[in-house]
Symmetry: C4
Subunit: 504 residues, 4 copies
């Protein structure tokens, strides 16, 4: 246990060359970490030589700094009451944002999941919005995920008794009030001080299952502790190249009662998300940026590298045997993107796969999960005789879901359940736990309505013949427009009011 | 017969906790009905404790309040001349609307059905426009209904004698001057004080058949009474879970001479129409809205639930036998959406089906009627040897029709006739009965022109080979745009006038 | 020969009830013709009781009034110098238009046919622009005509000697400097005082063939007289229900040396062109419009009916025998729209067909000529063993052509030549005869360039394998947009200049 | 050696009728060249009778004037210090441009190749931007080149060891750090004073191969001299109709160590690029333009003709034998556009082909190289049993590439490497050599990321099954919009903030 360090000493290390900060009463040397900080170096330099706890706390898991900094950078405790205080100034922009927050419409006026995203866009700090909403490269896959659902159309049935409709199901043997689970998303405290716990609370009330992310802002135990007795939780795992750490995480999760382990297999490296990267530049220390040329530090991948440096790029199929040896939780591969890998996963005996492209945040032009679902179902039927939905080998999809109709389409095509991520992030960013609850309630309402209209009293009644997915694989990009012809063309006009006092 | 109630007594019940109103000289306790009122509670609260007749009359069928309120809420007559009067204030917005009404272009300038919609949008009260124009969820199906017709193209024939062209037909054995009928739509008085009677009058003049809606603003008998001798009317039925009520309605309709019973089978519950729902919020009592959170009353489905609560969610195929036992009217199922159900309907011996998705107001991503028509014709030919159009089992479609060419496409593909709803609503909302007449006259003109140009002197000459519908099933959503590439691209430019005084 | 009428007497007939006008020194009673005047009644009423020659002359063929008015309305000569003069006022709008005319860019700056249309749009009187540019119903077919060419792509060949490229051809046995002819279009004087003669002159200079329209503004003989010795002209014929008139026209054309008779078969009635119809309303006598309701005169089809009333709606295949009996000119059917009719035309022994939908001005949703070409070629090959281009039975297409590449595509697919209409109208409307010449010269330049790049030294070398037309039949209408999702999405952004003084 | 000419004498030839200029101390008579100058006549006339060296130097190869002017126009040396100086005025527009240049964001903020284009658009002189960015006709093919890649989607594999990923390859036996080469583009000094040498320097640093263009602004030897020892360069050849010149060029290139000869076969004549042509008009001498009518000099093809007049339009397959006789460099045909020609090229024994449409600058509606690749691979496999990528006969594509994912798609489909042209032009126009280096570095980053995410440790692991290119041939142009219907439709709206202080 080192000697306490005086605040005055800390205050000397207040620049790029030597940068110490105080968090929760301890002093850390973050000089070498500056360029890897996901939030950019500028925000740290603001607290160089000072106490950063107030800024740090709401957006980091308690152990973030200890995990990311090597032990030799932990310099020891600060002498109480000697550290320099930082007065947080509130910018005009921030004031306007606070006003927007207080002007949010009442939850009653939120009618669909799109509304949450719209409110979140207005009330989130820009940086948080950029982090949550960004995706890989040109964000084509990100939007395709949603667009793909629009190529699937319904073939509803009539004159069936739909007085009672039941959209509850079981996921990996666990009850869920709907064929939807809350998918893992990182850094929840960027959107709301309670972070992922917002999801835990709402999941309890609405009877759905939450998947706890490895990169949560709240610590794993905080999230598990927030659960109600009997509440089911899954765990999403980024596999560490240090398998001992992974083993500890997994076995701890199992011991805390987690019911399913979703191993992420689509992220050996985190994707380039340019909106997020641009935000870091704007926020960065201008003196640094202007002096750096092509010889300078390459900070363009700072965030991704910092977060993902521990992820094992060498994870292989054979490692699944090891996972089976360290846990009895059902194993699910998250991020399967073609039938060949789904087949291999089945042959390896895992409990299921999530057909996912990581919300469009990894490889641009990866296909949507819903599109992959069709080929997986067809090939596993042909090659292994499986029917879906299938309790022994469950198929999940995620990405782009905004309506219960989207979920119903996935179920019709063979999915057991659908993961929803960003919409719940936006819901709690806008309204906290109540927002997530409302979002789930909206989905319930939509399920009730749409299953009635589809003529399907239960999920089992939602059969493949109820959808027409024959256009799902159409990736059409139109021939570029002929601007000369098109601009010459004058559109049709309506009969006009005598005086031009048109309303619209 | 209870004692008359003094206006002063009524005036005491002027709030949310106890809300009485007077309509047509009778007192009603509507306290519990407030949140279910399709028009929102605010408008009722405005008349709490007062005489609401003046506001009530133009937009409700005479028996609306007696049907919707249980008998114990009928408190009895008011003492004459004791009730408090309400002075209706005219807002600036309403004044502007009235001015737009007086500035409508003369009917001669209306050239197509789109014109009516455009005028209606400008002269309708916002709430009425929202109710009429809204559709389910993201309104994809609503617009697809129209778009689908644009995927069907003509193969016209030449050098045929088209001096005389005849587009008259028979529908369920009844003469119609064109293969179009006026489909059932609810709440006509929102658009015009004469409500559905506008349609009755115009139908008589132009020789088409009106389908009377269950949810008309005018009472059934008012509409039948408005018909000319010999004028044919059909009846659209929402089946009540109390079959005695349904039986009474049906047998009354038959006794009044109705020639066809269209049983709605696509609406066990009325759809979520968010434009309509948002209108109610804006109009709602602000004090209530702001105090309600997620624990508050869920009023988001008020309108749909209030209107549709009587509809039987358990209606089944076997019930058709009962219908045959209570009426000799031809039975038609309205809202069939796949060939399997059309086949079943045929096997059950009904007179026809309407291939319809309820104008896009029920299940979003239901396919257009015109698309379903193609699979129905193909499968009923293959499995039952039927040819279409077929007098024994008639196929109708509705939704999205704006031009005679749309109707002609449906006829070419096997439909007997096409239902048109909103365009006639918009026509009378803009110009009353004369508007509907003009709309029908425009269709007549278009039929004459287009049948000549198609080389088809009669409807029988409009054969399948006259259309190319091979792209009808293409539900294409383009790959999302590459905004960086596209924004970098500069469009082509024209040679420029020497001075930039361009007209356009 | 009636007595001359005094100008004072004429001046008494100066209103709707009795309207006389003077043209070229003769008095006409046009009272009953007012509502049928293609240009609207207002412009005639302006000259009621007065001498209209100055206004009449530039936009009518000399015999227009004598042809359209029955003999009993020809009242006789006016007494010289007694008629009231009309001073033509120049409006501000007209002054601005004249200024735009004088600001036209020099012809050298015109780089393509689109440029002419753009200039014409700015310098034409609104009414003329509306008449020329309008098309049927929603103008879908009009634009599809152009769009269809964009679905055809080239497969160019390399390493061929293209030092000399030759795009001359023969059309119906007549030499043409390119596989393009000037198609018939009506009312040329609306755009330029010399009307169709602009085309005659330019055609002579550039060695192309002009098709003379029945509804020209210049008289047939004026147009033929303007031709150079040896210049080839065709004649487009609307068949009159009075066959004696048609016989006279046809035999006169033959006697004047016309080399081909194009019988229009797609216009038993002229289409509804709403832009044109709206123009007439705006221009109409306001007192009349406001007093007319649905009972009023239906003037909405005035123009079309007035122009087309003489066209025989009963023209049949058998009539072709009669045509063969009255002329030896090659007969071509203009307006064939499916292979079945092309086959029948071949079997009837005509010299060719124009696959055309009348520039989109007749039946909306008729397919483009280029699309029909593919099915005609395939079926005539299969059923009659024909190869195309074929000298014995020539195929032409028109509609939507703007570039030599469009023409080359048609030739590759089997067309002998392509008709171009509006672009030449726009060219002379903007620059008179020189404009048309320039337009043809641009096409020549484009032919030279593109045949070189295609590796085709002559038209014979342009073979079907040089194009990929496999998407030609795709009539795609995308699934309607999801506005909530799309509006939430924020596009990608570029790196920004330090100060936001961006150029664009 | 002629006598020196006095500056005063030169000064007399200062107009259109006789125009002399001084460059590098020599006098030239450019009177007849004025209308053929690619940069327009105006800029030359500005220096008529004066010393133009300062303006000439940065944008012309040293031998440009000697090559383009016949010897008799080389009038001899000027007497030193007698020539009139020209003071170059800086326009406001130019000042603004200079300011934009100094406000460029630091290179660190450039995240993708689109950024360079965006900066270049802002900092390039308008004329340079027009020349670089323009393409043929309506620029459909130009944009299709990029769009086509968006129709190809990935099928990534998981659980493969991607710790080390290697995207290096060999091109024509030469090492390249990535499957990308710098394609030939003309007139590099328009964008940056160092012209093509920017590319040479960056290529050296990043280990890629530069293809030297025939029409470079720097001379061939300057570019070769700038290379590092061992740095590989290719040479792009426009074949001169004077084969002696071509032979000299080719053998000189070989003697200087060039490792591959890319013979351009898609440009017997340079395409019509209207943006470029319009720029010349705006820039031209106004007095000339206004006086020229259709009889005037046709200057509309000046630029293309001037640059390309030497190109042999008669180049044939047999000429390849001659090329083989004069050089041992591998021969590659650049501009092959169908499988038939690729097959012929293979049979002629060349080393490979570039499937290219010249960046969309030649024949509009030529298909994209990536689309042609698929048919070439399929047919050469079927007809010659070849597998691709193939070292003996290499396939290259160029056009439209902006992301490493584009390149990876091409490699998956059988390409050895991909040519990138404009993006590097834009990179050095914006930032000189460092810009190109950064662009290459971005591609490296993208390769690393995307190969990991695709599960492909080396280029060999990128197999056809990793892409879905089934929509590549879809050339869809949507049915034209129905403006009346679409404009009537009101989009959905979100729940609103209480006060409308929305951020966006």
């Amino acid at each position: 246990m080192p000697e306490p360090i005086s605040g005055k000493t800390v205050a000397l290390h207040n620049n790029r060359e030597s940068c110490w900060i105080i968090v929760h009463g301890k002093v850390y040397d973050v000089t070498e970490f500056l360029d890897e900080h996901p939030g950019g170096s500028k925000i740290i330099l603001k607290y160089a030589g000072k106490d950063a706890t107030q800024e740090y706390e709401p957006i980091h898991p308690p152990d973030a700094i200890t995990t990311n900094l090597p032990p030799e950078k932990h310099l020891g405790p600060v002498e109480p009451d000697t550290a320099e205080k930082v007065v947080v100034e509130i910018t005009d922009e921030e004031k306007a944002r606070q006003e927007r927050i207080s002007n949010r419409p009442p939850l009653d006026e939120i009618l669909n999941l799109h509304d949450f995203e719209n409110i979140a866009k207005q009330v989130l700090p820009e940086k948080a919005w950029a982090y949550y909403s960004s995706a890989a490269d040109d964000e084509i896959t990100h939007r395709e995920n949603h667009a793909a659902y629009h190529r699937i159309w319904f073939r509803p049935r009539i004159l069936r008794d739909v007085t009672k409709v039941d959209w509850s199901t079981t996921i990996l043997g666990q009850k869920s009030s709907m064929p939807v689970y809350i998918s893992a998303t990182a850094l929840g405290k960027l959107g709301h001080p309670d972070g992922e716990i917002n999801l835990t609370r709402a999941a309890a009330k609405q009877g759905v299952i939450q998947m706890i992310p490895t990169l949560a802002s709240c610590s794993f135990d905080e999230i598990v502790d927030a659960a109600q007795p009997g509440q089911v939780q899954f765990f999403q795992l980024y596999v560490n190249r240090d398998r001992a750490i992974t083993k500890k995480l997994v076995q701890h999760a199992e011991s805390r009662g987690v019911k399913g382990l979703f191993i992420t297999v689509d992220a050996p490296q985190l994707g380039r998300r340019e909106k997020d990267m641009r935000m870091k530049f704007e926020d960065a220390d201008p003196s640094v940026v202007s002096s750096s040329g092509s010889q300078g530090v390459d900070r363009s991948q700072g965030a991704a590298r910092a977060i993902s440096s521990f992820i094992d790029t060498a994870l292989k199929w054979d490692d699944l045997k090891w996972f089976k040896s360290i846990t009895k939780m059902p194993l699910i591969l998250k991020g399967v993107q073609c039938w060949e890998d789904a087949l291999q996963a089945y042959d390896f005996g895992v409990a299921g796969v999530v057909l996912s492209n990581h919300g469009g945040r990894q490889l641009d032009f990866a296909r949507s999960g819903i599109e992959v679902l069709v080929e997986v179902v067809a090939n596993l039927k042909e090659k292994r005789g499986l029917e879906f939905p299938n309790d022994k080998f469950q198929l999940f999809v995620d990405g782009g879901v905004r309506r219960a109709t989207d979920v119903i389409k996935a179920v019709a095509l063979g999915a057991t359940a659908v993961g929803v991520g960003r919409p719940f992030l936006y819901a709690f960013s806008a309204y906290g736990s109540e927002g997530v609850e409302k979002a789930l309630q909206i989905l319930h309402d939509e399920f009730e309505m749409n299953m009635r209209l589809l003529g399907a009293p239960t999920l089992k009644d939602i059969v493949p013949a109820m959808v027409d997915a024959s256009n799902l694989q159409s990736h059409i990009v139109a021939v570029p427009g002929d601007s000369l012809y098109n601009n010459n063309y004058e559109g049709m006009k309506y009969a006009k009011l005598k005086e031009s006092k048109a309303k619209l």
